[in-house]
Amino acid sequence: MTIDAQHSQARGRLGRRDFLRRAAALGLSASAVGAFLAACGGASPATTTAPSAAPSAAPSGAAASTGASAAPTSVLGGGAAATATTAPAASAAPAGGGTATRAATSAVATATRATTAVAATVPNVVTSKSGFKGTLQYWVLNYQPNGANQTGKLMDAATAAFTKANPDIKIETTGYTGDQAGFTKISQAVQGGGSVDIFRLPSDILPQLVRDNLIAPIDEFLTPEDKADIYPNMLTAVSVGGKAYSWPLWVPPVGMYINLDIFKERGVEPPKAGWTYDQFIAAAKQLTFTRANGDKVYGYSGVIDPGIVNTWPFIIGDGALPLSADNKQYTWNTPQAVSGLKKLVDLAQTGAHKVAPPDFGSQATADMLTSFQDRKVLAMYSEPSGASSGYRANKVNFDVVPMPIGASGKPITAGGIGLISVTAIKDRAKLTAAMDLGRYLTSAQVNVDVPGFYLAPGARKSVKVADPIDKFTPLVENCYITPIIAEWPQIRTILHPYIQNAVFGRTTPEAAFSEPAREINAILAARP
């Protein structure tokens, strides 16, 4: 599971045939495989994410308009210093109200209302001049056919728009799940050749596919308009050896969801962009209380999981990133990193502030939704944009604000990048057609043709997203993207239990970040 996968909040069923093949390779017996398939087969999403609801041409908040146009330059790729100076403001106004009804349906109908007013200004890139006649195999993360889920509806509409403009090109869409087994499936399908021409992928698996020469660079297909439109650091992020290997689609940065009903209940003023960690603690303490009916309400929580960086803004808020800018050195064994982790640890019941629930550190994403939306016993939690559309559709009275600023004094959050890549197709016309489709699916044009297409802030300046996704747009420029190197999945799974155990009070923040240093540095040193 990755940030990008998580943000879309839709997990379908496993590709059993591919999993069986891979599991067999690992020597798992039939019963173990069966158990695994059973486990994954039942892992349906708690809710279906609905798209944005109310039309909004501009991001909410005073300075939010800068978010869509300013290049997110600061903390990408593991090292460059943050340069952002303006903390974008977010709206604190109640956004919806009413009861939290699960109405995660009629997604496209709802999305239609979220039409952005940019049709006249975006370049039309839907027409392919490749001359290709035939079928493109398009694999999509979390796609379910026949409009069975939100991604399915939006992607079917987008490919239909493309084929309408290019009648000679047919597109066959295949879905894969947003978990590691799904990523294994797509990796193997790409490796097998022939069954995948273009595919959606999270940034985590890009380096491995590049390493194995399985995807084509996009450089020669990038037009001057593309280069001017795509945020420069997005292209940098998808570049390996000086070549860009993916069409950047979107960036789901982590933001702070606040339950305005609970804020109102406690008479706490909703925070504004630029708030500090101390202000956050003060609010969280006020929002941690016991209701007359015995319900315990907690000020803050967040999922701590190997594939999720939802709580990382606290850790990196004091100025320390996990790896050096060149990804050659582990850098979380510094006083800044330790103090950042201590800020996270202090939120737990074993810490100094005790504003998080007792199971903080072991909660799942579904627990956040239950606490925040259904039981209303969680005042604030941090997560990327995916959940926001569902909350809007379910009329949850919520808002999203940037994460509180730490000792570095600079706004910062964490996230990943959603990408579209083209496999190493030998047929030149087909390759060009696939690239044209990739350009279209990451353009502002697709958002005009399919309103609500973007479920996270886009990677192009021309892409304007609607409420509530636009609440995350200002966060993009301060978003730290986890390192896009092949070794990162291994490194993050090493770090995760240390962070967890620090939160559980089993180890100190100092030990949690110093103990894995040797192993992580050895992994980085062995990089080619």
Binding site: A25, G42, Q191, P358, F360, S362, P489, Q500, N501
Partner: protein, 312 residues
């Protein structure tokens, strides 16, 4: 005499000329009947195990550019990720010991209690105990996750009635594994009940009658007749439950997906993490092969200790 010798030689030559034909004439149908099972076993068990061993000796790459690394992956399995594989082995053994012992004991006791009942009552109880096994382990895991929830879980509500403060059943590294083991121990072992019941029903009644005539009571009869005569079933169940426990994955993945600081890591979750989250297929294959060897060793020991020489 010479004719007789010549005839024997001739017959011997005729037989020696077609040994394959003779073999197939004699055993062909038998092999034909076991062939589908043999193919299935080879495709889904034998070849994967051999393949896993081969991968475990490689730095395996999806694009086919794999390189041979000898037994390096076996060393990496134990030394990387802060040695979590050793924790996973320890947790798996702990889980297996408690799960197998409890399941066998409970299965044995419930089956024995069902034996004196009438035919219809036995059928009812067997069905009642077995019916829950059709429920997906994922659903069971989700329910138990709710029972154990630290904020609104059913168990904390129950212990709260006795004045005990809420516990972090699956949210504390000190409690999570024990809670998962407890869940397994509290699950009725349906397979054991069905098989023990069948085995007990097949024990000749004459033995009990003879024992009763000799003055043996119910417990003595159970100890001296029932237990020894269902030893082969017991062995089968021990092996079955041991393998299942070694391969536990689904419940843990559902109940504690974040791992609770590696405190709930077992071998198969570790294989999953190494293979599907870190993409280190060679190391994952090495871990899988180690699991295979552990299961084979455990099964061999169990066969040795529990083999039955009694036939009836």
């Amino acid at each position: 005499m010479a004719d007789l010798t010549a005839n024997r030689t001739s017959a011997s030559r005729a037989g020696a000329e077609n040994p394959i034909v003779r073999f197939f004439k004699r055993y062909g149908w038998g092999y034909a009947f076991v062939l589908p099972s043999l193919i299935t076993f080879s495709v889904f068990t034998l070849i994967p195990v051999v393949w896993a061993f081969i991968i475990s000796l490689q730095n395996y790459r999806l694009n086919g550019d794999s390189t041979w690394v000898g037994f390096e992956n076996y060393r990496l399995a134990f030394t990387t990720q802060s040695g979590v594989f050793k924790i996973a082995i320890r947790n798996t053994l702990l889980y297996t010991v408690f799960a197998v012992a409890t399941n066998l004991f409970v299965g044995l006791v419930l089956s024995s209690l069902m034996q004196p009942l009438g035919k219809w009552a036995q059928t009812f109880f067997r069905a009642a105990y077995y019916l829950p096994t059709v429920v997906s382990a994922v659903i069971i895991g989700v329910i138990w996750r709710w029972i154990y929830n630290a904020q609104w879980g059913f168990l904390n509500y129950v212990v709260g009635l006795f004045g005990i403060p809420p516990q972090r059943w699956i949210a504390s590294p000190d409690l999570a594994l024990q809670s998962i083991i407890a869940q397994r121990m509290l699950t009725v072992p349906a397979t054991a009940i069905v098989l023990f019941s069948a085995a007990m029903a097949s024990v000749p009644k004459e033995l009990y009658e003879a024992a009763a005539l000799d003055g043996a009571g119910a417990i003595r009869q159970w100890w001296s007749i029932t237990l020894p005569l269902i030893k082969s079933t017991t062995l089968f169940l021990v092996v079955l439950y041991t393998i299942a426990s070694f391969e536990v994955f689904d419940l843990i993945q559902v109940m504690v997906p974040s791992g609770v600081g590696n405190s709930t890591q077992v071998i198969v979750t570790q294989i999953y993490q190494t293979g599907f989250q870190q993409y280190r297929y060679g190391v994952a294959a090495a871990e899988a092969f180690i699991l295979f060897l552990m299961i084979a060793a455990a099964a061999a020991v169990q066969f040795r200790l529990l083999r039955s020489d009694v036939e009836y």
